[in-house]
């Protein structure tokens, strides 16, 4: 079974996945109409900044067992056996935030949502784009990711790829982490800039 696999080293922080995710979960599923909708569609994938301001697409891992599911007070969080997706039933959710306290990745958000009863704030997170996948599409975040930071693949196949890549790195320039010259240069300069900088969060 294919699933979304994250290669964080390839994220350039363009946030395209956030836009696409919000649009995919909008009534209209169109960017231009989605921004006018109420409630405003929001992304389930969150691109955060790492210690060197590098991008990182943070999304639900659909853990098994899922800590959020175990912590859910109402049984609103459940796993779909067929797709291994952890879902939140917005009708059962009471917005208690127990799942946010349980999630070690910080992916839960609380807001109104097109899928929830109108006016109700509920816990929201990645649903693996089940609606799109049912229509034969791939998850929206993967569709828009042009760097391979988010891919849709069989886990076994992805692991094979990764293993081969690591093997190549070991045999050549380890310092470059197997990255293209351009990216290696970019990363080096970016890190140096952040070191000379003062981002107030640090």
């Amino acid at each position: 079974m294919k699933q979304v696999i994250v290669n964080p080293e390839k994220c350039v922080g363009c946030m395209q996945c956030m836009l696409a995710c919000a649009v995919a979960h909008a009534k209209s599923e169109s960017l231009f109409a989605a921004v006018q909708e109420t409630p405003k569609p929001r992304p389930r994938v969150h691109v955060g900044a790492g210690l060197f301001n590098q991008g990182f697409p943070n999304r639900c891992r659909h853990c098994d067992p899922a800590p959020c599911q175990l912590a859910c007070l109402t049984g609103a969080i459940f796993r779909d056996a067929a797709t291994h997706t952890v879902f939140i039933n917005p009708d059962r959710c009471i917005n208690c935030a127990s799942c946010a306290m349980a999630c070690p990745y910080g992916v839960l958000r609380f807001h109104e949502d097109t899928a929830a009863p109108p006016g109700k704030t509920v816990a929201v997170k990645c649903d693996n784009c089940d609606a799109r996948v049912a229509r034969g599409k791939i998850p929206a975040c993967v569709e828009v990711c042009k760097t391979g930071a988010l891919i849709y693949d069989e886990m076994g196949h992805a692991l094979d790829q990764k293993t081969r890549q690591v093997a190549r790195t070991m045999s050549s320039d380890a310092a470059a982490q197997g990255l293209p010259d351009t990216v290696a240069l970019y990363n080096t300069l970016k890190q140096a800039t952040v070191k000379a900088g003062t981002a107030i969060r640090r």
Binding site: G48, G50, P67, L70, M101, P104, G106, R201
Partner: protein, 409 residues
């Protein structure tokens, strides 16, 4: 194999589910004094406040006993455990044999013992029945409610009643509510928020007696004052339900002492949830963390161990999250150590900022945290406390609203 589970709370239910995952044929008997289907205990305050109906309390759509092939023995309390003979005797005199036993009997609310405490409309707040009774009283018209205790239960009861538009007075011994969970700054923010919504708080006073005909009408305080009240909720804490255990039979502290497999001093007898005294990760000592998510996890772990799959429990961690009008409050671990000598505490924000964050470090290990508003990252902090991984990144990162998982990689 015959498994007996005492208690149909989340610990008991999750244990049964775990056993079923491992073994589709083993016999599972579940004893409980509650006849209501397994339900979400933390949700009862939502029912009291009126945001969720009582019918939504059950955790499962169908009959969970049938679905999991459990033999339920409901409406019965366990009277006695004979650990040597591996028999449990019920209050109705029936005996049930077992090969493995899980004590997931939970805890009972403490009552107040003063003259008049047997009057009507004086409640504890522990079970779905408690809240049904309270709702009945409320439906007959309640103007002034009195809440005893500023702990989690008292605070949740007060919050729920305020939301119903009832005038609430809270009597607490510490200078602010939730003193066991949060520090003073956070506590004062919470107090202020509740007061802004009509709560009256009296500090350092207690009830000496209640007066009334059939139902309570007023409370006399040790300060000499008399308060009108037509509903009282007692939030004085809980005690593990262990009366059926013979002294010296099983090693107990305040609860049943368990090892990392949640096994008691007697092989094949396990304990989980509010009745179990586990190792507190943040405090680094034995402790009962009588909270739902711990019960849920411990039940699952106990179930695996009962069916022969060795799974260890890393210990327990106190934690809570609640939404109080405009404040979202999350607290975890050792958020407010009494003796701060060996701790480094970072805090920022406060009443003026509308948000607050406090981190308690023991060396380079995160031991506790309080978050008020912007709580989405709380789970990462909880995981850091629970895993006891040394914090290698600048601590200010953890204080930032932009803190995210990639910074931990």
């Amino acid at each position: 194999m015959k498994h007996l589970i005492v208690g149909n709370g989340i610990a008991g239910i999750n244990a049964a589910k775990a056993i079923r995952e491992m073994d589709t044929t083993a016999a599972i008997v579940m004893v409980s004094d509650e006849t209501f289907p397994p339900y979400s205990r933390p949700m009862i305050s939502y029912v009291l406040e009126g945001s969720e109906p009582h019918e939504k309390l059950p955790l499962f759509a169908g009959n969970v006993y049938e679905d999991l092939n459990i033999t339920p023995v409901l409406g019965n309390r366990v009277a006695q455990l004979d650990a040597k003979k591996k028999i449990v005797r019920l209050e109705n005199g029936a005996d049930i044999e077992f090969e493995t036993l899980l004590i997931a009997s939970g805890a009972d609310a403490r009552h107040i013992r003063v003259p008049g405490s047997e009057l009507g409309n004086i409640f504890t707040m522990r079970t779905q029945k408690d809240v049904l009774d309270q709702l009945k009283a409320v439906s007959q018209g309640v103007e002034n409610a009195l809440v005893l205790g500023g702990g989690l239960v008292g605070f949740k009861a007060a919050h729920a009643l305020l939301k119903r538009g009832i005038k609430v007075t809270m009597l607490i011994t510490s200078p602010y509510p939730l003193a066991m969970q949060v520090d003073e700054t956070a506590g004062k923010m919470i107090l202020r928020e509740l007061e802004d919504h009509g709560l009256t708080v009296k500090v350092g006073v207690s009830v000496t007696a209640f007066d009334g005909d059939a139902t309570v009408e007023n409370a006399r305080l040790d300060s000499g004052e008399t308060l009108d009240c037509d509903l009282v909720i007692v939030g004085k804490g809980v005690d593990p339900s262990l009366r059926f255990i013979e002294q010296n039979d099983i090693q107990t502290g305040y609860g049943i002492l368990v090892d990392k497999y949640l096994c008691s001093s007697i092989p094949n007898i396990y304990a989980a949830g509010d009745a179990a005294e586990t190792f507190d990760i943040a405090r680094q000592t034995r402790w009962i963390n009588a909270i739902w998510p711990e019960a849920a996890i411990q039940g699952r772990i106990a179930g695996f161990n009962m069916s022969g799959r060795k799974v260890s429990c890393p210990g327990s961690l106190g934690r809570n999250v609640m939404r109080i009008y405009g404040l979202d409050v999350m607290t975890m671990g050792l958020a407010n150590p009494e003796n701060t000598d060996n701790f480094e505490i970072i805090q920022a924000g406060g009443e003026k900022t509308g948000a607050y964050r406090r981190l308690v470090f023991h060396g380079d290990i995160l031991a506790g945290a309080v978050l008020i508003n912007q709580i989405e990252q709380g789970g990462m902090l909880r995981a850091m406390i629970e895993n006891r991984v040394p914090v290698r990144i600048p601590r200010s990162c953890l204080m930032s609203l932009d803190f995210n998982y990639s910074q931990l990689l």
